[in-house]
Each structure stands twice: as C-alpha cells, then as structure tokens.
Amino acid sequence: MELISHLFCFSCKTLQHFPPTADYFEALGLSCNYRLDQEKLKKRYRQLAEELHPDFYANSSKDLQHLSERGLALINRAFEFLLDPFSRAEYLLRKIHPDLEEKERIMPPDFLEEMFSLQEKLDQLVADHDRQGVEQMRMDLEQHLSELESGLLPAFEMLEEAEKPQEVLERLRMSLNTNQYLKRLLERCVIEETE
C-alpha cells in the first residue's frame, strides 16, 4: 500500500489515532494549498475510502474498527470540503489566520442593500410567476459566483508573496462572505425554478 495519508503510521502502516481537529489536507495526503488538482483529490479519496472499508476491519479489535469508521467519516468530510473551491478557501483561510474573526461580519452597507433588494426582487418575480425572470437572475448569480471563484487562486498566491498580507486577507474574506450571500440567493432561485 502506497502510504498517502497521515491517518496511517509511516513505519508500521496501521491506522493511528487522530484528533477531532485532524487536518483535511493531511488526511487526504495533499499539500496544504489552495491550488489543488481535482483529479488527484478524487483519486486520493477513492484510494483511502477503499483502504478504510469496513470489510478490512471486520476482524480487527473494536478500537481499530471504531477508528476506521471515524477515519472514513473524516475523509468524507475532507473530500466534500476540499472539492468545493469556496469551502476549500474558507478552510484554508481559517487555518492560516484563525484570528480574522471580528472584521468578518462587516459588509459594506451598499452590498447589503443590494442583497436585500435582490431578495425582494426575487419575491416579486415569484409573485408574478415570472419564470424567465427567475432564470435570468439565476444565470446572473452563477456568472457573479464564477467571477468570484476565479479570483481565489490569485488571491492565495498574492497572500504568499504580499508584504502587507492584511489587505489581501480582507479582500479574500470579503469574497468568501459575498459567496455566502449570493449562494443563498442562488439556492432560492433554483428552488423557485423547480417549483
């Protein structure tokens, strides 16, 4: 077995204990970076899911069985988090700068105004049974999210080189917050479109 994950001891190759806060990148044997090869991620996940299959632990001690179940749950979570670019960015940001908390909440007033009026607009489109309008809003949101996403890799690269990382950090934080609000709106559009 090719040793790919920190979940397994490097010398004796058995599954070893890990804390609840185990690192997702380490669990999947990936370097801790925003830049990620999706194919490699999927391949690692599949390999590990096989390794941790309950069948292989059927005759193991209760301890080891339990550990393998937790291990499987961990890599499932890790895969889900690292696959999505925004949640990967969010995870990485919290790792590098756990103390970015306080400023997080504040969004510029005009941004919130815009979000609020988009929500109201959606209410109106739904009330008017305007399917095309909802579809258009959905496409606009997807476009906006796609633009946001393409800004993530450059931002993380800048973070490594920046003399004053604070500015880059704040912009990153703002992008990730923006994503949450837009995602919410998008979810509503999708629901309304399928009604």
Partner: protein, 131 residues
Amino acid sequence: MAYRNKVFDHYNDPKNVGSFTRDEEGVGTGLVGAPECGDVMKLQIKVEKDRIVDAKFKTFGCGSAIASSSLATEWVKGKSVDEAMKIKNTEIVEELTLPPVKIHCSVLAEDAIKAAIDDYKSHNGVNASKV
C-alpha cells in the same frame, strides 16, 4: 397543553412585517447581514420623544432568523431608545430556546436593533453610539 415552538409561532405568524419610509422623521433603519449563512435582516424603528412607538422588520433567512427579528420588533416597542440599546442576544436565545447552531440569528437581531438606533440618532441630530 401541547408543546408550542416559539420559533414556529413567529415564523408562521410573524409580528410587524413591513417597512416605514426611510426619510420619515423619527425613523431609524438597521440593515445587517450574517456572513456565515447569507441571511439579511432589515429592522426599522419609529421614535417619538425618545420612545420607540413602532417597529417593523423584513428578514430573508431561516426560521430562527425570522423569529429573532420578529421578537426584536415586539420587544423594542414601548421602550426608550436607551432601554432598547440594552437588549442582549442571550435574552432572545432564551426566549426562543435557540440551539447553539442558531445563536448567530439572535446576534443578528441584536445587531439590527443597534443599527436601527444608530441610524435614528444620526438622522435626528443625536450623537450615534460608538460600538
């Protein structure tokens, strides 16, 4: 008596949904958001002689967020501006028995009250509080 879920009650029959005209005298508008989930909450107060005589809200978010803001508008009515400023999110959590994962909804409601009061003060010649 059957168990009544207060969040459900507020969600089903929210009090004070609506809005005031922003530039109307005595009106303060608070618009706040929760970045962790994308909720947006607008809370408005109408003040006469330093007392909040009416309040309205509109929230786009989960049931707990709607309930928290609905409750907030109920609570501020009749209070003086200074009294309303003292409303704590923990009181909202207790009243609605919010689970830990929804505590941020109560924080949002507290933020909204403070934002509305600050906005009222800045439009009515009183120094806005420094948070």
